[in-house]
Amino acid sequence: METDLMVLTEKLLEHIPENLRLKDIDIKVLNDHLDFFLSKADIIVKDFYDTLFSNEATRKVFHEGERPIREKSLAEWVVKTIGGKFDKDYWAWQTFVGILHIKRKVTNDYMLIMMHRISDLVIGEAYKDLPAEEAAALKTAWLKLAGIVLSLISESYHYFYLVAISQTTGIKLNLLDNLVRVEVDNLLEANKKYRLT
């Protein structure tokens, strides 16, 4: 059972098809637009938390008075990300976020929809402020980055959820997989009306 974040992250990154990985040119595009992101950080952060707090289910994730702290964290994430090197440490950090999300009960559906919202904002602001060609390059780089971050966080969440169950109960991951397998056919059968022919 792999619990070393660096090793696990490397394995997860191998799952990402070559053409969807960040290339040097994408990293350069992102790094070159640090000022753009800094100028938009307030808009992104405010919209992000306004959206989360506008919904009862997502609002529940936060403790009383926690919003300013989380706003600072998101702004830091944006700066560290865009100005970063996208090295092994960076990607391992994203894998770590998956574990944090388990702790905070930030389920993958919340995370996915909110990353989509950030992407929508970033791309919208890029096309508003930058020449079309530059905005297109930034869009490509950002969407690749967002895709990789989403892959790492969501898979890390799922994987470490199982690891926690496995370590608490002593049930090996292979056995957990088998337990799931004996039930999944029943779940498919119960919901077969949604199956495509």
Partner: protein, 116 residues
């Protein structure tokens, strides 16, 4: 696996039991008699064994030797065969625990001989 089936069949007869499954540590059935859903029972048997081992670890004890569940309808006995195999025997209300344990030990010895 003809030998295994014979050993398990004999175990059933000698202990007046209803069903038996031999599972590996991943919860896959190697042999089973009279279980309605071999895959599910094998997976649950291996899980109970694993959970019990983890449970006793918390008290600095070695791995559990056996798990005996007493129900109104009789005993369910789960016993480690070796590091990779676990046996589950479902016995009826008339079955005697002493006989069950005796014959389970004998069956385990013979199963291990099959895998030598």
């Amino acid at each position: 696996m003809k030998n295994l089936d014979a050993i398990l069949q004999e175990l059933l007869m000698n202990t007046d039991s209803e069903a038996v499954v031999l599972a590996n540590s991943d919860g896959l059935p190697l042999a089973a008699i009279n279980t309605k859903d071999d895959n599910r029972i094998a997976a649950l048997t291996a899980s109970l064994q694993s959970m019990t081992d983890r449970f006793v670890e918390n008290f600095n004890r070695d791995k559990s030797k056996q798990i005996i569940v007493e129900t109104e309808q009789g005993y369910i006995t789960i016993k480690r065969v070796n590091d990779n195999l676990v046996l589950m025997l479902l016995s009826g209300e008339n079955a005697k625990l002493g006989m069950i344990l005796l014959y389970v030990d004998d069956a385990i010895k013979r199963i291990n001989e099959v895998f030598v």
